[in-house]
Symmetry: C2
Subunit: 162 residues, 2 copies
């Protein structure tokens, strides 16, 4: 029988060891555009290393059903990675602390509508996991010449559920 | 009576002089995540100059109604600026060629659901113009120590409509 990872709501505090929650929490830093727009400024701690640069890519991912089998985690040693949902649907954010070069006990968070996230450089995470179509995300991550990917198979796997 | 700008559908070809359309046009560049996700790779021509860096901010803008009065355009001389809608609603993209240091005749484009855009560095554009709530966008633009803003008041104004 597999261990269970219980899904919890995404909060900035709980997610802080792993990355940034990108949402409109708090007051805007600036009001722009003739008073019609609030700017919540520079919310992601991005890091692309000395030889990388920021790029914007789109990810179109197949929605997943719960309970979810979690058998693979990955991390990007050379750069941070932000996921911006291009719909108002919540999605699942799975992460884990590092435990001597492999992922420790995983955590699973459900976003609220209007939240994106940014994984800090080198943070273990599950693959992008939308729960609803269209599964469309803008991804701001490192463009560079290294593989920038470590994968770790979880044996035994975990089951992610509410 | 004001001149009219007629809204046209956003296409990569028509928008090419001003920036990049960020969508899933064509085949994905790579299939990732155990076959469950297509990556449309590095779609934005970003440029933050020698002294800037990329940042992710959120903009929460008030939806606008049509016909729209266009009386102000702006440009960011030191950096590109990408707008990623965090909902599936279309939004309005207003831009103009440069005409000797001021905006020339404006163009207005309506996005399709699932499209974002990136204005190239120094491109004249209207302020962010959602037509529907929540008016929420992730914005990838330059973080730096210069004002990075030129505004130009349009006299007489234009009317933007279908």
């Amino acid at each position: 029988m597999s261990d269970t990872v219980t899904i919890q709501p995404l909060t900035a505090q709980a997610f802080a060891p792993f990355g940034d929650v990108l949402d409109c929490a708090g007051d805007p830093d600036k009001i722009i555009n003739q008073g019609l727009c609030g700017r919540f400024h520079d919310r992601a701690q991005m890091d692309f290393g000395p030889d990388g640069r920021a790029g914007i890519s789109l990810f179109k991912a197949q929605p997943r059903a719960l309970p979810l089998t979690l058998d693979l985690m990955e991390r990007h040693p050379d750069g941070s990675q932000a996921f911006i949902p291009m719909s108002e649907h919540p999605f699942l954010v799975i992460t884990a602390p590092d435990d001597g070069g492999k992922p420790g006990a995983p955590l699973a968070f459900l976003t609220s509508p209007g939240q994106g996230i940014n994984f800090h450089r080198g943070t273990w995470h599950g693959v992008l996991t939308p729960l609803h179509a269209p599964g469309l995300f803008a991804v701001i991550d490192r463009i560079g010449n290294t593989p920038n990917l470590e994968e770790h198979t979880l044996t035994p796997h975990y089951t992610v559920q509410f």
